[in-house]
């Protein structure tokens, strides 16, 4: 129950945040946005109240009020950015509380301050738009807009909830009166009552209750507190069943359930005529909005619950292994030596079909764990926005390649590092607008986050067009903290920049809200290393800096080209291959040190013979008998020489077993994969191979 609440609320919070940010950017709230935000807040309010999280519920209520006002009155003056602030603050508060709940704690923080702020803002907005701040909108809305006749106004209103007004009372129906009292101080009685009514609605034929307008009338809670929730209904269920059903209500103090002889004994049982009037009233143009909204809010919540299930990752791993086994088993059957030389047309046909299904099964199992980076990237929008506000800077965030899919595990671990890097860029990188103008740059800085799959890695870059890293400042601080591991003169730029990742390192003299403690970048390295990845910073003074995260994909589907070398098979990710060709004799030459090179279209590239690199003795030595693959990493290109091309196929990247990693440093190999026949192929990564051969 609680898990569901947390899950749902988080979804809504995410949605709310994105909506608010989008609205702020467009400087207006579209009607859809208002409705969406209203709905989301309303649902959170309701479910939080059910979970007895009153602080969240009350806060949601006050924010909801703002949007209620906007929706109903269409005020002229809407301070979008303040409203966004309020919404985001509320979202933050709720997120914090849900996190707390998730961690097993109780959500006890008070939202009073936020609530007061929201309420006073709404008051001001009402005044500035010439509306009466004390007017109760919910009441206003209730009475039909076109001058309601006094008689209609006075008539006791019944809220009619049954869907079948015309239905006559069958004989086997029982008539009940129930009065339900909640415990004192349980708060949000009206929402609780609404839940009770909703539950009851399903098992009753006709149902009336008092107070009539639970959610719209602000005095409903008070009246329930005083007189209890009074209900009159007819149902086919017997006394005991009804009582049992009502007894499950949370926080119920007292229940009086009476079976009445007939409908006429009920104090409040509207005549058919009245019902018709009420029905007409409720279907008046403006009134249905609330029930309608209610309806829509409820729907998606249920929908999602059914469309998403959370599965233990270990189960997925097991499934993955089984599929791997299946593929091998398939190969063992279809390539069985016993079948050699036999003409088996029907068998071949069936085998092809099996192969196809196997492939699809494999693909879909692999895709289960893959999640696009989009969600994580989008969260950075918020950070950039908040920081521009507090720091007085101007910046925008550009996302590239956010549809890149990575393993779920990675998603979970890169949120924090990304946040710290973006913060760092905003705080240290992007200059104040005046400074930027003075340097001839656009006043608005740009922070770009990009992602791509490169080889067995996902590469995430965070770049900014700010001032770049001040080398001298970093050096001075590193000197102060005794971080040097070798003489200062021998340090490369890269090494100097990487000092910023040292724990406790900060060039800021003062601790600000965003930086200065030197914790952030340290976290980046730790988290990325946990994923087996690397962090590299580069910077050009005056032009900005780039932080690159390279994270190996523990489980990713990439396209790879398999090459055979002797009796071994190696796979090179297809996106690092530029071309492959059969070299001519004499196209490869040696320099005095014995390093081989090849000239292709006037450009000279180094040649790596896989057989030499990996000490294979049974490989082809003659250059014209093998195959040359030109692979690219960054700006550099190298020729990789192998025996022959096996083919291109989709492969699952699996990590090299930990034990092997411990005992060796395999050159240029980042992972391994299983080929269709069950044999293992080692994945060669152009980037790490590049490091082996270039200076």
């Amino acid at each position: 129950m609680m898990e569901m609440f947390i899950y749902e609320t988080r979804q809504f919070l995410e949605e709310l945040e994105q909506l608010a940010l989008a609205s702020e950017q467009s400087q207006s709230f579209s009607e859809d946005d208002v409705n969406e935000i209203f709905r989301a807040m309303h649902t959170i309010k309701g479910s939080a109240a059910m979970m007895m999280l009153d602080e969240i519920s009350k806060l949601a209520h006050s924010v909801e009020d703002i949007f209620f006002y906007i929706r109903e009155k269409h005020p002229q003056k809407v301070d979008t950015s303040t409203i966004t602030d309020l919404v985001l603050n509320a979202v933050d508060f709720m997120r914090q509380e849900t996190d707390e709940l998730d961690g097993g704690g109780g959500a006890n923080a008070s939202s009073k301050e936020l609530r007061d702020k929201t309420e006073s803002f709404l008051r001001e907005m009402k005044i500035s738009n010439g509306d009466d701040p004390d007017e109760d909108l919910r009441k206003y809305k209730k009475s039909p807009s076109a001058q309601p006749s006094p008689s209609e106004e006075k008539k006791p209103q019944q809220y009619y909830i049954s869907a079948k007004p015309e239905k006559k009372q069958p004989e086997n129906l029982h008539v009940y009166k129930a009065v339900l009292h909640f415990e004192e101080g349980c708060e949000m009685e009206e929402v609780r009552s609404y839940a009770v009514i909703n539950n009851l609605k399903e098992s009753t034929d006709e149902l009336f209750y008092k107070p009539e307008k639970l959610l719209e009338d602000d005095h409903a809670a008070e009246s329930i507190r005083k007189d209890g929730l009074q209900m009159w209904f007819t149902s086919e269920l017997d006394h005991q069943t009804v009582e049992d059903a009502l007894n499950t209500t949370i926080f119920m103090k007292k229940l009086e359930l009476k079976e009445l002889g007939s409908v006429s004994e009920c104090e409040y049982w509207p005549s058919v005529q009245q019902q018709a009037v009420d029905a007409a009233e409720t279907s008046a143009p403006i009134v249905p909005k609330v029930p309608q909204a209610e309806h829509k809010v409820k729907q998606p919540a249920h929908h999602e619950a059914q469309q998403m299930i959370s599965v233990k990752v270990s189960k997925l791993d097991r499934l993955m292994d089984l599929v791997g086994e299946l593929v091998i088993a398939e190969a063992m059957v279809t390539q069985n030596p016993d079948l050699n030389g036999l003409e088996l047309h029907n068998f071949q046909k069936a085998a092809r079909q099996l192969h196809k299904i196997d492939n699809e099964l494999q693909d879909s199992v692999m895709s289960i764990r893959m999640v696009p980076l989009e969600g994580t990237f989008r969260k950075m929008n918020r950070i950039v926005r908040d920081m521009t506000k507090t720091l007085g800077k101007k910046a925008r965030l550009v996302l590239q390649g956010e549809d890149t899919e990575v393993d779920k595990n990675i998603i979970e671990h890169i949120g924090d590092p990304l946040m710290h890097i973006v913060r760092n860029s905003m705080d240290h990188g992007i200059e104040m607008p005046e400074e930027r103008a003075a340097c001839g740059k656009q006043e608005t800085g740009t922070v770009t986050i990009s992602a791509e799959n490169a080889g067995g890695e996902v590469v995430i870059r965070v770049s900014d067009d700010g001032a770049g890293i001040d080398k001298e400042k970093v050096l001075a601080k590193a000197r102060e903290n005794h971080l040097f591991t070798k003489p200062e003169s021998e340090l490369t730029d890269q090494e100097i920049y990487s000092f910023i990742f040292a724990p406790g390192f900060s060039t800021n003299k003062e601790v600000t809200q965003y930086s200065g403690r030197g914790v952030g970048m340290d976290v980046v390295v730790k988290n990325i290393e946990k994923l087996g990845g690397k962090v590299v910073v580069d910077s050009t003074p005056g032009e900005g800096s780039v932080t690159t995260l390279r994270i190996p994909l523990t489980l990713a589907i990439i396209e790879g080209m398999s090459l055979s070398v002797g009796d071994s098979t190696y796979t090179i990710p297809i996106n690092s291959i530029k071309e492959s060709f059969k070299p001519d004799i004499g196209s490869v030459f040696k320099d005095p040190d014995g390093s081989e090179m090849i000239m292709v279209r006037g450009e000279c590239y180094p040649v790596v013979r896989l057989s030499h690199l990996y000490h294979k003795t049974d490989a082809i030595e003659d250059i014209d008998k093998g195959i040359m693959v030109l692979a690219e990493s960054g700006q550099r290109i190298m020729g990789i020489f192998a025996d022959k091309l096996i083919g291109v196929q989709e492969i699952v990247v699996k990590p090299i077993p930990k034990y092997i990693q411990e005992v060796s440093h395999t050159k240029g190999i980042t992972g391994c994969t299983l080929l269709g026949d069950g044999s293992i192929s080692l994945i060669i990564d152009a980037a790490s191979l590049e490091k082996e051969i270039f200076l």
Binding site: V323, G324, H615, P657, Y659, I660, V663, T666, K667, C672
Partner: protein, 173 residues
């Protein structure tokens, strides 16, 4: 759950899987053994000590295999159909041990185990104890200290042994 595991541990207590390696009989705690398989096609991995033969595909799982003969500095023997791979679980890391052949599962209680003498030629460091079995304790089983055998420090020590490193390069080139 906890009870179940305790029971399981209890039934596996003092039980050792014995295997042959050259002339000796070795034993390993049955509780760490995942399974025993026949020798499989091995994919060699470059730049590893010679005793790490490479990796195998065990139903979709990639597992490193270590030749125990080479690991203990004995001569390499070509694999036959009697050669077995004992897959053990070293702190959640599966490792395959290539041995000459698997013998049986023996009950060796604590009182039948004697500590190995501390020798200068540090060869005994992977032996946790020496088990005596048979009617008159005439059969000797060397009980493997698998935890120590595959600890990172040991691997580094092995990697630094000049003889082995030299061997590897010669073979490689």
């Amino acid at each position: 759950m906890a009870d179940e595991r305790e029971v399981q541990e209890d039934t596996q207590k003092d039980k050792y899987l014995t295997f042959r390696l050259a002339d000796e009989s070795y034993g390993i705690d049955i509780s760490v053994v995942i399974e025993i398989i026949g020798i499989q096609p091995i994919t060699t991995v470059p730049e590893v000590p010679e005793y790490v033969r490479g990796i195998i595909n065990l139903r979709g799982k990639i597992i490193p295999v270590v030749d125990m003969r080479l690991r203990f500095g004995k001569d390499f023997r070509t694999y036959t159909d009697r050669t077995c791979v004992i897959v053990i679980d070293v702190h959640e890391v599966p490792i395959g041990l290539i041995v000459d052949g698997v013998a049986e599962v023996l009950d060796i209680t604590e009182d039948h185990i004697v500590p190995p003498p501390s020798l200068k030629a540090a060869q005994n460091r992977y032996i946790r104890g020496i088990g005596k079995t048979g009617k008159a304790d005439e059969n000797i089983t060397l009980l493997l200290d698998w935890e120590k055998l595959f600890s990172p420090e040991e691997e580094i020590a092995m990697g630094e042994m000049p003889a082995l490193a030299g061997d590897m390069n010669e073979n490689g080139n």
